[in-house]
């Protein structure tokens, strides 16, 4: 009985939604994201969505930004209650979303995941447009491998433990270290994306006197922190230096460091998903089926000696 009522209700909602669509062509979307202040990546990401989901493009966007999963969940629930047509989510954590997404499905709301995956059954969302963090880690590890160094002694500075970016950028490196004899992790520590903490971690390795020749930091800020520690200890780094420096995210200032040869590598993490999702929404609106559930943003990397000013202008995030 209860199920029947729920089904009826859902059907009714879909019907009203359809009617509403037929009447007015304004599509309401609820966007749940992390705050733009989180990073250069997020700033570009938020801007991208603000630029696409505008009244001119036929959208009415409601946004909610938080770094906390529970707040995001509450906001998503609120958007469902408000009766948005689509829910666009970049989750703070990969877990805990089953209930809300089930509620969205029952309410007939299309769910798109962007930037980050959520650990739920794929029937609960329409499509996901994400960065393949694991691929970023893989690209970086492959690049490192291609250097053919005699020994790989790595300081591995991790992001906030459990985040998609941390797991994706850690796993391929870890697998390579486990597989190869001449790859060694000198220290593996989380700085929770905190630049100053990354500096302290690097300092502690320098003070211990252990040899290392690679800094693998899981974002640009932490790489900068590690480099500050190297500078203070008089250790050379970059293209012609003793230590190879690797970062992720492609902030513009970070790419300039790569161009100047102070860093060796910066992995891209594309923040531009808004248009892809908008195209899909239009497809759904037109009654077409979406073939691929998982769309992966194409990403690349930049290395010292190869990067150009043009690359910085095109791919650099932030100022």
């Amino acid at each position: 009985m209860k199920k029947f009522v729920a089904l009826l209700l859902a059907a009714l909602m879909v019907l009203t939604a359809c009617v509403a669509m037929a009447e007015a062509d304004v599509i309401t979307v609820g966007i749940v994201n992390n705050p733009p202040s989180e990073s250069g990546y997020r700033e570009a990401n938020v801007k991208d969505f603000e630029a696409v989901y505008t009244a001119e493009n036929g959208y009415e966007a409601k946004t909610f930004y938080s770094l906390k999963n529970d707040e995001q969940l509450a906001a998503a629930q609120q958007f469902i209650t408000d009766g948005v047509d689509y829910l666009l989510i970049s989750a703070a954590e990969t877990t805990g979303w089953d209930e809300v997404l089930t509620a969205a499905q029952e309410a007939g709301i299309g769910v798109f995941l962007f930037d980050r995956m959520i650990a739920v059954d794929e029937s609960l969302y329409t499509a996901a447009v994400v960065s393949d963090m694991a691929n970023q880690g893989k690209l970086a590890t492959e690049w490192l491998k291609s250097l053919n160094l005699e020994a790989y002694n790595i300081i591995h500075i991790q992001g906030a433990m459990g985040s998609d970016a941390q797991i994706g950028r850690t796993t391929p490196l870890q697998e390579q270290v486990d597989a190869a004899d001449n790859w060694k992790i000198v220290v593996q520590q989380t700085a929770t994306w905190d630049e100053a903490e990354a500096k302290k971690i690097t300092e502690s390795v320098i003070n211990s006197g252990e040899a290392f020749n690679i800094i693998y930091a899981e974002n640009d800020g932490m790489a900068k922190g590690a480099v500050a520690a190297l500078d203070e200890a008089g250790i050379t780094h970059g293209k012609d230096g003793d230590v190879i420096v690797m970062g992720f995210d492609c902030n513009r200032w970070a790419l300039r460091e790569v161009l100047a040869g102070n860093w060796n590598y910066d992995g891209q993490c594309s923040p531009f998903q808004a248009q892809v999702i908008s195209d899909m929404i239009q497809k759904v609106e037109a009654g077409e089926a979406i073939e691929t559930k998982l769309v992966i943003s194409e990403e690349t990397y930049f290395e010292a000696g190869v990067i150009t000013e043009e690359d910085i202008a095109t791919y650099g995030l932030g100022e």
């Binding site: 705050p35 733009p36 202040s37 989180e38 990073s39 250069g40 990546y41 997020r42 700033e43 770094l67 991790q158 433990m161 220290v187 593996q188 520590q189 989380t190 929770t192 994306w193 905190d194 630049e195 100053a196 903490e197 500096k199 302290k200 971690i201 300092e203 502690s204 320098i206 003070n207 211990s208 006197g209 640009d220 800020g221 900068k224 922190g225 500050a228 190297l230 500078d231 203070e232 200890a233 008089g234 250790i235 050379t236 902030n251 200032w253 995030l317 932030g318 100022e319």
Partner: protein, 361 residues
């Protein structure tokens, strides 16, 4: 003879508060000496800027704890006067740091603009400190609840000030503040802490602020009846903490020449409160000792550095930290303290008789 005995007794009670942080700090030091005798070795190297500088874990600890030490000074005052803690120090430091960066980015970076930027950072921090202080002193809201407001929205405000996510400021002058001044081998943040410490010491020596703060913390009514403006004293403590936040924020920004509003001094409020607690200050207000809190701050950084040096896995760091903190707090608890002071009294009595015997001989 009796006079000297009284004197020693007096100075003992004056410095007894330092015992807990000293004890915990020396425990960590001892542990490290046993684990790795070279842990505290200090080396002289040349950094990439061509300066001769001191390096080593000891320097790293003193340097790394700078922001925390400055914040702990201010937090001690707030704790003593208001009987509660400010949990918005990290957010406020981010706001001040953001202001610092905003001014620096608006023009060429010279000593003058840095001074101006610092003054502006202090000003905005004092404004927000006054906001916190007003909620606490005038509206009588519990400090933790009052500062929850800024704790929640502070980092967003910091972001609004600058707009960009991680704005950078590149200049040798900024580098000199956050790292080394050419020709001086000691990291500048350590020097800044020393200067702050001297300023605090001078304030306590030449003004009645210390006495008034303690009085307000112990008994507000009595303080008021004695003509102390309790509202003002509380407000003042928050304003001083604001300046401390500005100093900490500016150090944090200068270290790397960049500000990340979300991660600048992340979770520092908890460490600051902990530093005050390890310092043996009455968290319910009243008796306080700023130097003791500073020692607490160094203890916390020493602990973190030790855990890094021991290569504790990333996922376990917080758990290990918690275990040590439980130990320290339990050692400092009234029950254990009473036990030790009894023991101490016994020992002292023994010493005294020994002295008297010696004197008689």
């Amino acid at each position: 003879m009796e006079k000297t005995a009284q004197k020693t007794k007096f100075s003992w009670s004056k410095y007894s508060q330092l015992l807990l942080p000293l004890l915990s700090l020396s425990l960590i030091i001892l542990f490290n000496l046993f684990r790795d005798p070279s842990f505290f070795s200090v080396a002289i190297t040349e950094n990439n800027a061509g300066n001769t500088v001191l390096t080593g874990n000891l320097i790293s600890i003193l340097n790394g704890a700078s922001e925390l030490a400055v914040l702990a000074m201010g937090m001690t005052l707030v704790t003593a006067a208001c009987g509660g803690q400010d949990i918005s120090v990290g957010a406020l430091a981010a706001i001040a740091g953001s202001m610092f960066v905003k001014i620096l980015r608006s023009g060429e970076i010279t000593l003058g603009t840095i001074a101006l930027a610092f003054v502006c950072a202090c000003a905005i921090a004092i404004v927000f400190g006054t906001f916190n202080g007003t909620l606490v002193s005038v509206f009588k809201i519990q400090p933790m609840i009052a500062t929850l407001v800024l704790y929640t929205c502070g980092r967003s405000i910091a972001y609004w000030l600058n707009g960009g996510a991680t704005p950078t400021v590149e200049s040798p002058l900024i580098n000199a503040i956050g790292s080394f001044i050419p020709g001086i081998p000691v990291p500048t943040p350590i020097l800044i802490v020393i200067i702050c410490g001297i300023i605090f010491a001078l304030i306590f020596k030449f003004t009645t602020l210390g006495l008034f703060t303690q009085t307000v913390g112990i008994n507000q009514r009595a303080a008021r009846l004695n003509g102390i403006n309790t509202t003002f004293i509380k407000l003042l403590s928050f304003m001083i903490l604001g300046v401390c936040c500005a100093v900490a924020g500016c150090i944090g920004v200068s270290r790397l020449g960049l500000i990340n509003h979300e991660t600048l001094l992340l979770d520092v409020e908890m460490d600051t409160i902990l530093a005050v607690a390890i310092g043996g200050n009455a968290l319910g207000g009243g008796k306080f000792k700023v130097s003791s809190s500073v020692l607490g701050a160094y203890t916390i950084q020493a602990l973190t550095t030790t855990l890094y040096a021991m290569k504790v896995p990333s996922t376990d760091v917080k758990a290990y930290k918690a275990i040590v903190i439980i130990l320290i707090v339990v050692i400092g608890s009234p029950v254990v303290k009473a036990f030790f002071s009894k023991l101490w009294a016994k020992l002292k009595a023994g010493k005294q008789t020994g002295k008297q015997v010696k004197e008689a001989a």
